[in-house]
Amino acid sequence: MNKFFINKLSIISFIFIPIIFLWHPNWVGFLGVQPYWPLFWLLPWSMINGPVNGLIFGLFLGLILDSLTLDNNFTQIPGLIFCGFLFGRIKFHSNTFVGHFRYGLICSLGSFLCGTLYFLQILFRNFSDSNYSIFVPGIKNILAEVFLTGFFAPFVCSHLLRIFKSSRKTS
């Protein structure tokens, strides 16, 4: 039983992403914005399992997170699919120290892509209102999310990567 949990740790940790997404702990927030949690899981998963697996689990994550948010007109799926595929093509860096900071940069880029794609959907939907005031909070949200995701990624991703690798070895 214990071995089963160790082997399937990456899948089990997948279940907790929506829980953290719902939990939304304020003490890790900045300007009321949270880091983009799904990327912390998606990066190590895709780096280990490749772009196709990254794409598939990007879709899975998008489906589950869309079902938890009430915005029926906007979706997170395109951003997560794109990030899953992109992360899968990234190779491991030989220098561990540089590697940690790379996770930060990659996650920041992923968060920027996801945030921009989401914002474009909102803009497209509200295009008829020609409401320019939506730009300021939109850009603020994207930048705060990029900063936080990049800040936490080296800590979280390197730990998850180590856990996923060890669970893969034991299986």
């Binding site: 929506p18 829980i19 719902l22 939990w23 939304h24 304020n26 927030g29 300007l31 009321g32 914005v33 949270q34 598939i56 879709l59 899975f60 489906l63 589950i64 869309d66 079902s67 938890l68 948010t69 009430l70 915005d71 029926n72 007109n73 906007f74 945030g115 989401y118 914002f119 909102i122 939907r125 509200n126 209102d129 020609s130 409401n131 005031s133 939506i134 300021v136 909070p137 939109g138 603020k140 949200n141 705060a144 999310e145």
Partner: protein, 249 residues
């Protein structure tokens, strides 16, 4: 012969992994269709030990007193106006449900709260949610034990509101930040900073005279409309207890 056998055993449907992935995909589509009810109920149980305690009741009651005072004045005025007009329908709000906030997303794109009362407690989609201070949002989705409320700050929220001083109806649109935008479809509307905004008596989504907020700043007049930023009375990022109004408008 050997090569044919090898090809036939390598078809995608012969791989167990593909079927497992397909099963996971179907399950997630099911979760998507049910709008995550399963997950929200799961979260309900694991977050139960961390729900806000009773000690906040006093703070909440104090805020409710202030809110009631404002509401009373508005209702008096409205009643007088209605007696003169005698054409508006009355709204009945005999049944309120108290609920605790168990999940809160008040920053970023997603602006919603999840409450610990669901369809088993009689909460229905479209019910109005108010907190100390005034309107918070509307119930958009319910599961057995929880209900999800779309906040008025969400980019998806559009509500009819009433500016009391100048007696004009407007549209309150969420922008994804803490200050929703009030749109008045008249460039001559004499709106001023500090004007009080409440739910519109003409709204088909909300009961009338629920306090919403004050005009914080006025933007430039665009074509035929005037826009202003609204500072909300109810602060969704600090409220732990709310009231769900079961209203028939």
């Amino acid at each position: 012969m050997l090569s044919i056998r090898r090809i036939s055993t390598n078809r995608w449907w012969h791989k167990k992994k593909n079927w497992i992935l397909f099963a996971i995909f179907l399950f997630l589509v099911f979760v998507r269709i049910t709008k995550g009810s399963f997950y929200k109920d799961f979260y309900y149980f694991i977050s139960k030990p961390f729900w806000p305690g009773q000690f906040q009741k006093e703070v909440v009651l104090e805020s409710i007193d202030q809110e009631n005072l404002i509401k009373l004045n508005l209702l008096k005025k409205d009643n007088l106006r209605l007696r003169r007009i005698l054409s508006l329908q009355e709204s009945s709000n005999n049944e309120n449900i108290s609920a605790a906030v168990i999940s809160r997303k008040t920053g970023s794109w997603w602006r919603q709260i999840i409450l610990n009362k669901g369809s088993k407690d009689g909460v229905e989609v479209g019910n109005v949610v108010i907190g100390p201070g005034g309107l918070l949002g509307r119930v958009n989705n319910t599961s057995l034990f929880t209900s999800s409320v779309i906040l008025i700050t969400s980019p998806e929220s559009k509500l009819g509101v009433w500016v009391d001083r100048i007696q004009v109806n407007g549209l309150l649109v969420g922008l994804g930040d803490d200050y929703p935008s009030l749109i008045l479809y008249s460039k001559d509307a004499d709106i001023k900073v500090g004007d009080f905004v409440s739910s519109s008596p003409a709204s088909t989504l909300l009961p009338p005279n629920i306090p919403i907020g004050f005009v914080q700043s006025i933007d430039k007049t665009l074509k035929s409309k005037k826009t202003a930023k609204i500072s909300l009375l109810a602060k969704p990022h600090v409220i732990d207890w709310v009231q769900i109004l079961k209203v028939n408008i």
